[in-house]
């Protein structure tokens, strides 16, 4: 048992990388988007989801951990649950937009070549079941899996945070045990119409809890390990190997250079259950980041990175906007033009819209903070409290 180390001030790197992750998720969510070639999922095993979930765990522990120490488990727990509720409402709002888009397609599209693909619209025939299943978070359209994952993670978080603050190693161990159990026994939550959750919360919690563990002192404990040259060498070698293997996904089979025994060993790289290879890839990226982007990096205060930081500070709103923009962007690609330059334009426009919205939200929050009669808050809680 040891006292949690309280880090003062907000680590802007968290905002920066969460903001970048939000952009990458947006780019990846537009189907057939040439610009998504720049996103990290093409160059290794993990993608922006890992970054997003890890940082979300870190900030949740950072923000609510302080609330728990200062005002007790009930208040902190209530705030966490309110946050989960906000995310739930946001998810249902996105679902409504999805329904609108899919209904439009259902009524306007009758190309006989795609008679089979139109079966995706079958659930419109029984809206009673579909909508209830969506409210239960069991029916989740494509690209709408992350928020339900986040909701479950937050619902489970109050006791985990309590444990983390007392016996952090035990909490991390319990999280790891659950992860192992998932792989051992194939645990997952049921989905509708069949199957299980695309992002298994029981597996992905490991990354979230690991992030939280880092926030309550784990990062300091890991620091010697992260700084050691051996770790750096291993991380670089691992990233290089992952890059070479990722390259083989995009080359024709004739020049396949990944031996069969290795393929048998590593595939499938399971995203649903957060494959160990993905987790390790994220860790390797994190090691490199910690080493080459110090907390006091002057660039963190430069105008160049400010847009990403801004987006990262309002992650829920910007994430939802990104999902919507990806829908809308795909719609524009289908209805107007799917040309390369259109894809570039939509990608750029979407990111600009995310930045502008983040700036607008900041402006609103500043207004509220200044308005008379508003509850006075500690200066950092505004940023952090709303955005765990």
């Amino acid at each position: 048992m040891h006292a949690p180390v309280v880090t003062t001030g907000r680590d802007l790197r968290l905002d920066l990388f969460r903001g970048i992750a939000l952009w990458l998720i947006f780019l990846d969510h537009i189907p057939s988007n040439a610009v998504s070639w720049i996103t990290i999922r093409n160059y290794g095993f993990s993608d922006a989801t890992e970054i997003f979930i890890f940082i979300s765990g870190y900030t949740a522990a950072f923000v609510y951990g302080r609330a728990m120490r200062e005002r007790g488990i009930v208040v902190a727990g209530a705030r966490i649950l309110r946050r989960a509720w906000q995310i739930y409402v946001a998810h249902i709002f996105l679902f409504t937009i999805y329904m609108a888009e899919i209904s439009y397609v259902a009524t306007s599209f009758e190309n006989p070549l795609y008679a089979e693909e139109m079966n995706i619209l079958d659930f419109l025939k029984q809206p009673d079941v579909t909508i209830v299943q969506a409210l239960l978070l069991k029916f989740k359209p494509v690209h709408m899996d992350v928020l339900p994952l986040y909701i479950i993670l937050l619902l489970l978080f109050p006791p985990i945070l309590w444990l983390l603050q007392r016996w952090s190693t035990l909490a991390l161990g319990a999280s790891l045990a659950l992860y192992v159990a998932v792989w051992q026994f194939g645990l997952n939550l049921p989905a509708y119409p069949e199957g299980t959750w695309f992002f298994n919360p029981l597996a992905w919690q490991l990354l979230f809890v690991f992030g939280a563990w880092c926030a309550v002192g784990g990062a300091e404990r890991l620091a010697p390990l992260v700084r050691s040259p051996a770790t750096l060498v291993i991380a670089v070698i691992y990233l290089a190997c992952a890059f070479v293997i990722a390259l083989s996904w995009y080359l024709p089979e004739q020049i396949s250079f990944v031996p069969h025994w290795l393929e048998d060993l590593i595939y499938p790289i399971d995203k649903t259950n957060l494959d160990v290879l993905r987790f390790a890839h994220f860790l390797a990226l994190a090691v490199l980041t910690m080493r080459f982007v110090p907390r006091t990096w002057p660039m963190l205060h430069s105008w160049i990175l400010y847009p990403a930081i801004l987006c990262g500070q309002h992650s829920l709103e910007i994430f939802c906007l990104g999902v919507f923009l990806a829908f809308a962007g795909h719609f524009a690609l289908v209805e107007i033009s799917g040309s390369f330059w259109m894809q570039v334009a939509i990608s750029a426009f979407g990111i600009l819209a995310m930045i502008a919205t983040a700036a607008l939200i900041t402006w609103y929050k500043q207004l509220e903070g200044r308005s008379p009669g508003s509850r006075s808050k500690p200066p950092d809680a505004d940023l952090a409290g709303g955005e765990a």
Binding site: I102, L113, W341
Partner: protein, 251 residues
């Protein structure tokens, strides 16, 4: 932005006009079509016995609607293409398609198929229904592996065929992970994959077809199926190491 859209619109209109003048070429680059696999049973049956029995095991996208549909869909076009190019071989393509079947359901019908059709090659078209219903990838992969094994143990070569490229439903049907699984299984088992998804996407990028079209255009569907049939035929000939009687490879 508006100017940009205007330019893009003009460009796509021009492209459309150009297509209306020239009949679309649906040639497929070798790198998208061929892999280094051998269809040994096809080679034996066609090369020595001058017979070739192919069965297409598939779902809705392996056929076309209407009374004429089956005769215009790619399995029939494949048969025609092979007839034309392998005039010394008696080619028969039988069709086993049923709507709404996942890979796992199809796998269960394979034993009957092997007994009744005695195919030298099964073209297993799957993935679409699994992606629509978001079947777990693990389950999908297991079904694929078991299915391939069953077919091979039953004396047939296997070719996998993935889903169609369907830009309008791309944001609703998560094709990507299922395409990846099929590619991985084909690669591990050293069997050919007819990458319908990538090929149709290539045609779309090249302007050979407009898959964004929303209208009820039976002509488009028929032309696409004809092109698919001929491309599959080229792959069967290549991987079966067959000598086409008349070489019309570049058509």
């Amino acid at each position: 932005m508006r100017a940009f859209i205007a330019v893009a619109l003009a460009a796509s209109t021009l492209a459309g006009r150009a297509l209306a003048v020239d009949p679309p070429s649906c040639a497929v680059p070798d790198s998208l079509l061929f892999s280094d696999n051998s269809l040994t049973r096809v080679a034996t049956a066609a090369g020595k016995q001058h017979q070739l029995a192919i069965t297409v095991l598939g779902t809705g996208s392996s056929t076309l609607a209407g009374p004429e549909g089956p005769s215009l869909a790619y399995p029939a076009r494949l048969e025609a293409a092979l007839h034309q190019r392998l005039s010394k071989v008696a080619v028969k393509v039988s069709i086993r398609t049923k709507n709404g079947q996942t890979a796992d359901i199809m796998r269960r019908s394979m034993k009957d198929l092997l007994v009744e059709e005695k195919p030298n090659l099964v073209i297993w078209q799957t993935g679409t229904v699994d992606a629509i219903r978001r079947i777990e990838l693990d389950e999908f992969r297991t079904a694929l592996e078991d299915g391939v094994e069953t077919l091979q143990a039953g004396g047939s070569d296997v070719m996998l065929m993935n889903m169609q490229y369907s830009p309008r439903t791309e944001s609703m049907i998560p094709a990507g992970p299922y395409v990846d699984e099929m590619r991985a299984v084909a690669q591990q088992r050293d069997i050919p994959l007819f990458d319908r998804f990538a090929i149709m996407r290539y045609w779309s990028d090249e302007g050979a077809f407009d898959f964004y079209a929303a209208g009820k255009d039976n002509g488009l569907a028929q032309r696409v199926h004809d092109c698919l049939g001929r491309a599959i035929g080229a792959l069967v000939i290549e991987d079966g190491h067959l000598q086409p009687f008349v070489n019309k490879a570049s058509q």
